[in-house]
């Protein structure tokens, strides 16, 4: 009982982080299960496992909402940020530990609310985007969606206040801005975005519930409202939200690649100020590319086509730094490194297939087809998930003090890696060639899509096996893994200078001393 109390009322950033990990993995499991249900339904034309399109729509709603808001954002800006950032900057804890505890509570409340989807009658079927007028005229329970988003959003805002303060003011004496880990930089940028844009999302979903339950007319044209206002508000947040996911996951990939290549980051300053900074600058000026086919004025469609294409510059700089970090390195291929390298590959495919989507005239055909989920699963969903899993493997010896099984880790990686490509590459092809639209419970009018759909379902089953193996590996290692040292990877970064697991409060016996010329990536020099 006292153990339970200790975890619930903890203000230690590491325990809060682990609570985020457990919660987000639960969301991942449920959302993954809904994905398997959808794939089973789609394996052949006609009703396959359910006669009710409503069931499928609820799975699809839950899969999207829970994966993005319940799994990826909390795992990256909750678990990894909480666990790593104070350790990487040599701080004893975050700036506001009690606010930190409050945000993890709010996260769990949001999670419980989201899971009620499977319990309440008329669960939400509004997709994670919740577009009105459908979300205001449906019989389904849109309020559940609104309040899930509000709770999780509130948790994010509190996290933003907390981490911006922590990174700005609580670095150990001697750590300058140019000596920060890439992950810390990326977390800093991600929380700037959260703090600016989450309130807009909160406004949008609140207005939906006002329209639906209190009879206001924000999105009702018959009373002077406008249906497109919501889509603008929603994507004004939700495109930056992509970078809230992308930045931390590319940050952890940088840290993993530098550690396993034992090499300095190639052109660190270009990656930070050009890459991360450039994404910050452009994040808020590209949302119209989600509204290319909604009848927005032509001038803004063409204008944001240009800004969207320009995103390739900061992302390209990050890529050059990432690949350049391998140059003259000393590369070894443990499980975290395999995940990190696969993220480079997945992002290469996902990022480049995003270029046609920036071009407004090409989007007129591929928008809302299977090409879209194919693209964003590569660039964000799968790449982000693989980065999270790589990050958990990477930190596993640190937060448990135990070592996982390398063979099972690699086997599970290759199974999942094959699985995701079997799903998402055909998905892009069928979207362009057949024009197969997304969010379809059935596709009798597109008989040409059936073989693709069949193989995508096979891919989903392969992924399911891979992830079960990962879970098995972690749980087994937690109880029966061999003891891991304080620094099993030979990293120069600050988080590996403490014990595994680190001291309960305070992380180090005393504040780490930072020598002049120290940096988290100063490999190939004399150890100090």
């Amino acid at each position: 009982m006292s153990v339970l109390k200790e975890w619930i009322f903890t203000t230690d950033h590491k325990k809060v982080g682990l609570l985020y990990l457990i919660g987000s993995m639960a969301a991942f499991a449920f959302a993954g299960f809904s994905a398997l249900m959808m794939r089973a339904e789609l394996s052949s034309i006609g009703p396959t496992i359910t006669n009710n399109p409503g069931d499928y729509n609820v799975w699809l709603y839950f899969h999207g909402a829970a994966m993005i808001l319940g799994f990826q954002i909390p795992a990256l800006t909750g678990f990894l940020a909480n666990y790593l950032v104070p350790l990487q900057i040599g701080a004893k804890d975050v700036a506001f530990p009690r606010i930190n505890a409050l945000s993890v509570w709010l996260f769990y409340m949001g999670l419980i609310l989201a899971l009620l989807t499977f319990v309440v009658p008329d669960p939400p079927d509004v997709m994670w985007t919740g577009y009105p007028p459908y979300s205001t005229i449906t019989f389904a329970n849109t309020a559940l969606y609104t309040f899930t988003v509000l709770l999780l959003g509130f948790a994010s805002i509190l996290g933003g206040v907390n981490f911006l303060t922590t990174i700005a003011f609580m670095r150990a004496p001697g750590i300058g801005w140019n000596q920060l880990n890439m992950f810390t930089w990326c977390t800093f940028a991600a929380f700037i975005l959260q703090l600016i844009f989450v309130p807009v999302l909160g406004t949008a979903v609140t207005l939906i519930s006002l329209d639906k339950y209190l009879g206001t007319h924000f999105f009702d044209p018959s009373s002077g409202g406008d249906v497109l206002v919501y889509q603008n508000l929603f994507w004004f947040y939700s495109h930056p939200a992509v970078y809230v996911i992308l930045l931390p996951f590319i940050g952890i990939v940088f840290d993993i690649v530098a550690t396993f290549a034992r090499n300095r980051i190639f052109n660190y300053k270009a990656a930070v100020y050009g890459g991360v900074g450039g994404i910050l600058l452009l994040a808020g000026e590209v949302w119209i590319h989600h509204l290319y086919v909604t009848g927005m004025p032509d001038w803004i469609r063409v204008g944001q086509m240009v800004t969207t294409l320009l995103i390739s510059i900061p992302v390209g700089l990050l890529f050059i730094s990432l690949v350049g970090t391998l140059y003259k390195g000393s590369i070894s291929f443990e499980t975290p490194m395999l995940y990190a390298l696969s993220v480079v590959f997945l992002m290469l495919i996902g990022g480049l297939t995003g270029i046609p989507l920036a071009i407004v005239s090409l989007t007129l055909h591929v928008s809302d087809t299977y090409y879209i989920p194919g693209h964003f699963h590569y660039v964000m969903a799968v790449a982000g998930t693989f980065a999270i899993f790589g990050g958990v493997y990477y930190l596993f010896p640190k937060f448990t003090g135990k070592m996982y099984n390398e063979f099972v880790g690699k086997l599970a990686f290759w199974i999942t890696f094959v699985g995701v490509n079997v799903i998402f590459f055909p998905m892009m092809i069928v979207g362009v060639t057949e024009g197969m639209p997304r969010r379809y419970w059935d596709y009798a009018q597109f008989p040409g899509a059936e073989p693709y759909q069949y193989w995508m379902t096979v891919g989903a089953a392969i992924i399911g096996v891979g992830f079960l193996l990962v879970l098995f590996n972690w749980i087994h290692a937690l109880f029966a893994g061999p003891k891991a040292g304080n620094n099993p990877w030979g990293s120069r970064s600050l988080e590996w200078t403490t014990t595994s697991p680190p001291l309960d409060h305070g992380n180090w016996e005393e504040v780490p001393k930072i020598e002049e010329g120290w940096g988290p990536y100063e490999y190939g020099t004399e150890k100090t």
Binding site: P221, L317, I355, G435
Partner: protein, 254 residues
């Protein structure tokens, strides 16, 4: 009266009114219409080549580094040296300008095609579309209505002026590489250029509830002559109804 209406619908169509002998003029008009679908296929291929080249360069470079710099002894560390200031700036600005050049090149190409997509040819057949859960209702210039079936003549561009009765739908014709949302309170448009007789699927591409996946119909492209006789026959039915209504005046009416 009926003929007048039909005539008005096609006044923008010189070749309809022209006698059969003026085929040279007919050809020149057809040539002027750029087909956005063909433009799409062309630009799509070009962009695919572009991104494949970039992807292969990055992938080969990464694979080469992974092989060349694999760890050979456990204690080994990387030997990359910090970059000089000149190198830092060079390695940031030069790639940035290369990417930017590619971006602007594609933006220009994309804009050009977008112009074709949005500029409705003057001789288009204009059809009104009202979407609803879960049907496509088309209204022709002469008042003929069809449901989930858009009959159009081959060789004439078709423009749809679209709105919606309930929620947002998206009129997607994969074969013509075009879609645009229809929504309540706004009028949007799209046009396409059917050239050969045939049937094409129209399917909803914006999530609209339970039967979203069953909201589909057909674009039926008919040879010019067949279309004209169908169109006139449908219009005649419409007039018969009108006459009947006016014959059965209610009590108290003049």
């Amino acid at each position: 009266m009926r003929n007048n209406r039909l005539h008005r619908a096609f006044t923008a169509l010189p070749f309809v009114a022209l006698p059969g002998g003026a085929s040279a003029e007919f050809e020149s008009i057809v040539e002027k219409v750029e087909d956005p679908a063909a433009g799409f296929d062309h630009l799509w291929f070009e962009v695919m080549v572009d991104i494949t080249i970039i992807g292969v360069i990055f992938a080969l470079l990464a694979l080469y580094f992974l092989f060349r710099y694999r760890r050979r002894s456990p204690g080994e560390e990387g030997t990359q040296k910090p970059l000089s200031n000149l190198n830092i700036i060079g390695w940031a600005l030069i790639p940035a300008f290369v990417f930017m050049a590619d971006d602007f090149y594609m933006a220009a190409k994309g804009w050009q095609l977008y112009d074709t997509y949005r500029r409705v040819p003057e001789n288009s057949l204009e059809v009104k579309l009202e979407s609803a859960m879960w049907t496509w209702d088309y209204t022709y210039p002469n008042g003929v209505k069809t449901y989930n079936e858009l009959r159009v003549p081959a060789g004439q561009p078709v423009v749809l002026r679209m709105t919606s009765r309930d929620t947002i739908h998206s009129h997607f014709i994969p074969d013509f590489r075009i879609k645009e949302d229809s929504m309540p309170g706004r009028v949007t448009y799209m046009w396409f250029y059917p050239q050969k007789p045939g049937e094409h699927i129209v399917s909803c591409a914006e999530y609209c509830g339970q039967l979203h996946s069953r909201m589909y119909g057909k674009v039926i492209v008919m040879p010019r002559g067949e279309f004209d006789s169908w169109y006139q026959a449908e219009a005649a039915k419409l007039d018969v109804k009108l006459t009947k209504l006016s014959d059965n005046r209610g009590a108290g009416q003049k």
